[in-house]
C-alpha cells in the first residue's frame, strides 16, 4: 500500500527557519478554524466470477489471446481521493512558500519510443501553477481539452528548446494534455480538491484538518467508474466513508433473447 498526502504547495528550499516560522503562523491561524477529519477505505475489485472465468488452460491458447493484458486490480495505478467544498467553507490559507511558488512541471521529452510527457501523469491541487517545458529540439503546440468539459484551454507553442508556458488550473477534474502536431502524446493531470490523497489500489485513507462543512468526496481512477458521496464534516469529529470503484454499481443490461 502506498499513500501520498497533500495539503497544499510543496515547501521551498530557502531558509528552513523562515519556512518553519511561516508554517507555524499558518497552523496557528488554521487552529482557529473548526475542523474534523475524514477517513475511510477505497475498494477496487474485479467482478465476481471474472477471475475464474478465463482460468481454463485452453482459454488463452492463441498468440493474440496470450498477448492480452489483464487489468490488475491489485495494482491498478494511482487512485485519487479528494474533497470538494459544497458551500463557502472557510479554508486555512496554504502556508506561504519562501522564494515564491514552485510550479508542478510536465516536460515534453524525446525518448527512444518517440515524444512523450514526463511524468505522464500527475495529481495537483486545484489552483496549482502547472508549467509545460519543451525539451525537444522541435517546436510543439500544446493544448488541452478537458474530458469532462469542466473547462477548456489552449497554450501557446513552445517555440524553442527549453521554452515553457505556465497555466494555473482552476477547475477540478481530469485534464488530458495534448500535442497538436503529434499523435498519441497524451499527458494526464488530475486536478483534485485541496484536501486529497493518492492511493495505489484498495487502501485506507485519512484527510486531516478539514474545515467543518458540507463536501463532495470523490474516488477517481481513469479507467474505472467514479464513486462520489456527499458528506458533512463536523468540528472535532471523524467522518468515515467507504468508497467503491467497482464496475458492479453500473446499470445492468439483460442478455439478448436470441443469445444461447
Amino acid at each position: 500500500m502506498n499513500r501520498r498526502n497533500s495539503g497544499g504547495s510543496a515547501p521551498g528550499t530557502q531558509g528552513a527557519l523562515l519556512a518553519a516560522a511561516l508554517f507555524a503562523a499558518s497552523i496557528g491561524w488554521a487552529e482557529d478554524l473548526q475542523t474534523g477529519r475524514v477517513t475511510g477505505h477505497v475498494t477496487v475489485r474485479a467482478k465476481d466470477g471474472a477471475a475464474s472465468a478465463n482460468r481454463r488452460r485452453s482459454a488463452y491458447d492463441s498468440v493474440r489471446l496470450r498477448r492480452a493484458r489483464r487489468f490488475d486490480y491489485q495494482n491498478p495505478g494511482e487512485i485519487v481521493v479528494h474533497l470538494e467544498a459544497l458551500a463557502a467553507v472557510p479554508q486555512a490559507a496554504p502556508p506561504p512558500v519562501p522564494g515564491g511558488e514552485t510550479p508542478t512541471t510536465l516536460r515534453l521529452v524525446r525518448a527512444a519510443r518517440g515524444l512523450r510527457w514526463h511524468p505522464s501523469s500527475s495529481v495537483v491541487s486545484v489552483g496549482t501553477l502547472v508549467e509545460f517545458v519543451n525539451e525537444d529540439s522541435k517546436p510543439h503546440i500544446v493544448y488541452s481539452k478537458s474530458s469532462t468539459d469542466a473547462f477548456q484551454y489552449y497554450l501557446d507553442e513552445l517555440d524553442s528548446q527549453g521554452a515553457s508556458r505556465s497555466v494555473r488550473i482552476k477547475a477540478i477534474g481530469p485534464v488530458e494534455i495534448q500535442v497538436l502536431d503529434a499523435e498519441g502524446v497524451q499527458g494526464m493531470l488530475y486536478v483534485a480538491g485541496r484536501h486529497h490523497q493518492v492511493l495505489s489500489g484498495s487502501a485506507e485513507f485519512e484527510l486531516p484538518r478539514v474545515p467543518a462543512g458540507p463536501y463532495r468526496i470523490t474516488a477517481w481512477h481513469p479507467r474505472l467508474p467514479v464513486d462520489t458521496r456527499i458528506i458533512t464534516v463536523t468540528n472535532g469529529a471523524s467522518t468515515h466513508v467507504a468508497l467503491d470503484l467497482s464496475v458492479n454499481h453500473l446499470p445492468k443490461v439483460s442478455p439478448d433473447q436470441d443469445s444461447p
Binding site: 471474472a50 472465468a53 488463452y60 489471446l65 473547462f151 507553442e157 467508474p225
Partner: protein, 247 residues
C-alpha cells in the same frame, strides 16, 4: 369533368375516382396523364429535396507572433462530423441494418461507431474467452456483465454524446460509440475527408468531435440550387488552436 380535390386530412391533391370511371377514351388518356402528374407532385411533397455535404477537417494554429500555421502529416481519421438544423429539428431515421461492435481477438471492432439517438447496438462475443463490456460515460453508463463466446447483449442509446466502452478484464480493450442527434453524420478518413448524403435543403450547424482534437463548428446551407445542380456543398472545418486563450 375531372376535378383535382384537396384531401381534408393531408391537404394533398387527389383525383375523384367516380369521375375517372365515367369518362370517355380521350378523356381517360387525359386522366392517366393527370394522375401521373399528381402522383409526381405528391412524391415531391413527400421526398424533400436533398443534397450532399462534403469537405475535410484541417488543423491549424493561430498565434500573434507567427500568424496561422497549418499542421500537416497527422492522421485525421475518426473525427466525428454531425449536422443539426439551425431552425427546427430533424426526425432521426434509424438505419434498418443493426449496429454491432464485436469482441474479437481481445479488441472491440470497430473501435469507433457512430449511431443515431434511439439506435440499438449489439455486442456479440466472438472470442473463446469471457469479456465484460461496460461504460461509465455520463451519456450512457452500463454494465453488460460477464458472458462467453456466442452470446450477445444489446444497448439502446437514447442520449447524445460520446460513450467510451471498456472491458473490465482486459486492459487494452476500449472503443467509442458516438451518439448523434440524427442520421446526418460521418467519420473522416485519414486525410480528414468526409461526405454526408441526403441532407435536406436548409441551414445547419456542422459540428465535430474527436477525443483528442479541438472541437470545430461551421455553418452550412444546402440550397435548392445545389440540389438541382447535383454538386456537393463543400466545407472545410478548421480545428484550430489559438494562442493566448488561456484561463
Amino acid at each position: 369533368m375531372i376535378h383535382p380535390i384537396r384531401s381534408s386530412r393531408t391537404g394533398r391533391r387527389i383525383l375523384s375516382m367516380d369521375a375517372v370511371t365515367t369518362a370517355t377514351k380521350p378523356a381517360r388518356c387525359l386522366v392517366v396523364l393527370l394522375a401521373l402528374w399528381f402522383a409526381l407532385d405528391a412524391h415531391a411533397e413527400l421526398a424533400q429535396p436533398s443534397g450532399t455535404v462534403a469537405g475535410r477537417v484541417i488543423l491549424s494554429h493561430q498565434s500573434e507572433k507567427r500568424g496561422t500555421i497549418s499542421i500537416a502529416g497527422r492522421d485525421l481519421s475518426g473525427v466525428v462530423i454531425f449536422m443539426e438544423p439551425v431552425d427546427g429539428e430533424i426526425v432521426p431515421t434509424l438505419p434498418e441494418k443493426e449496429a454491432t461492435i464485436r469482441q474479437k481477438d481481445v479488441k472491440f471492432d470497430p473501435a469507433l461507431l457512430l449511431v443515431t439517438r434511439g439506435q440499438t447496438v449489439r455486442f456479440p462475443n466472438d472470442d473463446k474467452i469471457v469479456h465484460n463490456v461496460f461504460s461509465f460515460s455520463s451519456a450512457h453508463p452500463f454494465d453488460l456483465g460477464l458472458y462467453s463466446k456466442g452470446e450477445s447483449k444489446s444497448v439502446t442509446f437514447t442520449n447524445t454524446g460520446p460513450v467510451r466502452i471498456f472491458c473490465s478484464i482486459h486492459t487494452d480493450m476500449h472503443a467509442v460509440i458516438y451518439v448523434t442527434p440524427n442520421h446526418l453524420r460521418a467519420a473522416t478518413d485519414a486525410k480528414g475527408r468526409f461526405h454526408i448524403l441526403n441532407v435536406p435543403v436548409g441551414r445547419y450547424a456542422l459540428q465535430t468531435w474527436h477525443r483528442y482534437l479541438p472541437d470545430g463548428v461551421e455553418r452550412v446551407e444546402v440550397r435548392h440550387v445545389d440540389v438541382q445542380v447535383g454538386e456537393p456543398v463543400w466545407t472545410d472545418v478548421d480545428l484550430s488552436v489559438q494562442s493566448g486563450d488561456t484561463p
